[in-house]
Amino acid sequence: MNEDAELSQTIAQLVRRLKGTHLHAQMEREARECLHQPEIQLDSLKDDVRSFLRTSGWERKLQNAVHRELHVGRLAPSLPAVPAEHLKEPLAYMRKAQASWERRIVKSLNSMSTELGVPLARMRPATEQQELSNKWNEMGTDEPDLSRFRPVYAPKDFLEVVVALRSPNLNSGEDAGARSHWGLVQVPLGVKDIAQLRETYAELSLATGQLGIDDNAHIHPDVFENNYIDIGKKVLAKQDSAAAQQYSRRGCPTGLRADLWALILNSVNQPQDVLHFEQLKAGVLQHDLLVDNLIYKDVKLTASNDDYYFVFEDFLYQVLLCFSRDAAVLEHFKYNSATPPKSYIQGKEGDDDYAVFYPPNGVIPFHGFSMYVAPLCLLYNEPSKLYSVFREMYTRYFFRLHSVSSACSGIVSLCLLFERLLQTHLPQLFYHLRQIGAQPLRIAFKWLVRAFSGYLCTDQLLFLWDRILGYDSLEPVAVLAAAIFAFRADNLMEVTSLASAEAVLADLSTLKVMPLIQIFLFAV
């Protein structure tokens, strides 16, 4: 009864969302054109057209589009009284914390603009546009003077915001008792414990074959790997998003990963996507934003210094500059607790008619932002494809890593999950680290915010991101962080300061991700 009403409401919302899309127009065109075919009878028109769409693969594409809509963000609630801000973030104090954090960032950006005398946006003169267009594929060779620019914020600033969160209705006056929480995050969000994690991540168990473990050189490929790759090829041939997502839970073979991820994210690179990318590129050429300098600086500081990703510097510029001009990204703010900053035309401050979002996509990059794109460069070499996959990944997962929200994949929940796992299963280690002033979250936070990009070896990172896509959740990142602490527990018990604890955990490039997660979840 109630479920039926909710189901029909969900269906109505999905239909509304899919109605204006390109897929809808294409399917209508196909349906109209199929009327010329002789096997379409007039008296069974509806069924014949439906079966035509099924056999020609259009039904599958529609299924993939519906699958995407169900996984992206939250559908609007059934009650009319619910305001839009509740959909972004249900808890009032988290909304307030996010709003005040955003005010700080915007203030910092504005003061940078005033101090350096650089406008937030300016039109490029024609000669400069031509020059940039010529250098588009090799922007890395450009060496602008970026010494005056500094990143707007770094993960450690954001950590302070997360740590300072307090639930106003929480009864903290009581004695600590059984509820004592040794960690930094003091909000009582619901996070899973090991038993629930074992249930959710059942495909990672010891008895199931995985890539990252059972594709080791010592194991004969016929035991697991060859069969698994054949299944992967079949999944790709079927072009089914849901099947690809299920498949990805046990890892994606290197040769099939690019196509599988594009299929899971339903990121089809059609001509209009290439056109959209070209339009964004034209936007980059026309206007110069202050945010562009921040992007340049970030790429130079992070990706260019990384042994694995420095070769992709040019791609990173192209993708990130276009990303900051893409107004389609504004859609994700419906389910993101953040709000895009508004900027007013000079002289018309406060007048909403003259307000624009700044930057056009509403996302202000921070120190390390380019590392979200860098691992994807290993999979896609065509800029428009790389761009559309990155945009999908950002609007589904990465935005949660730098905004305050109570979502179970949000950074606050991930931090709490990490601390709870550590306190429950390694209490001696946690206590010792706390005593020496090395709270584990202070070391692990930078890994969580970047989803380990730049800290792990590239193939291991891609195994981790396979699971993120497969389970549609960022929890594996927190589990891995706890597993790393468990792995290096013996060394960590002997350190006596935060600096030496950080030194023990500085180099993660030799770690194998999947065995660590598997042992931590299933063999502890």
């Binding site: 008296d43 059934s78 009284a81 808890l91 209705n169």
Partner: protein, 210 residues
């Protein structure tokens, strides 16, 4: 009952919540909080769906004071319409703590007709929270179809097959007309397709008019 009542509901007057304490027989010692709170709602007649915003309540029960339809003269009796519906999945954590909920007549164990008063019993067993209540309680009348679907009065059902057969003949006829006309003066600025459409539209009307 205005149109506004149907869409926005009516905010009802809540009596102040009564927190139940136990212990503390004399007025000096305060009993400890039992985690149960009772709110009485003064109910306008004829309403059946309740929506509210939760504020850290874990479970809610609804009791109705009603007069059964057959017994007009008898005193109104209290009966339980909904017992311990969970609002927060885990009373110690924030999930569902500030969400919006609705209770409609289908979820109630008794028919909410002839109700003179509603009592909401809120329970929050966890000691983690300072207080708990519900906010913005609104009552909606019995749901009636607000938007009538536009239904055209049924006309003579068109026999698709026969109409399309006749159309086929008319198309052939118009093709013949067009090929004979092409010898004459050109049609000018008009697109040939639109003239066809207009011709066939007239023919269609001729076919379907009674």
């Amino acid at each position: 009952m205005s149109a506004d009542d149907v869409t926005k509901g009516v905010a009802c007057t809540l009596k102040p919540p009564v927190f139940l304490h136990f212990g503390g027989g004399d007025s000096k010692t305060q009993g400890c909080c039992s985690g149960v709170c009772v709110i009485d709602v003064a109910l306008p007649p004829g309403k059946t769906t309740i929506t509210f915003k939760n504020f850290y309540t874990a479970l809610v029960s609804v009791r109705l004071q009603r007069r059964s339809p057959g017994q007009e003269g008898a005193a109104a009796k209290w009966c339980t319409a909904l017992r311990d519906r969970p609002l927060m999945t885990n009373p110690h954590t924030e999930a569902g703590a500030q969400d919006y909920y609705s209770i409609d007549r289908k979820q109630m164990q008794v028919e909410p007709d002839g109700v003179s008063s509603i009592r909401l019993i809120l329970k929050q067993p966890s000691s983690a929270w300072l207080t708990f209540s519900v906010q913005d309680v609104r009552i909606f009348p019995r749901m009636q179809p607000v938007r009538k679907e536009l239904v055209f009065p049924p006309q003579d059902p068109l026999d698709v097959a026969s109409v399309s057969c006749r159309l086929q003949q008319m198309w052939a006829l118009s093709q013949v007309m067009q090929s004979s006309q092409s010898h004459a003066a050109s049609v000018g600025r008009f697109d040939v397709r639109t003239t066809h459409a207009r011709t066939s539209k007239y023919i269609f009307h001729l076919l379907t008019s009674p």
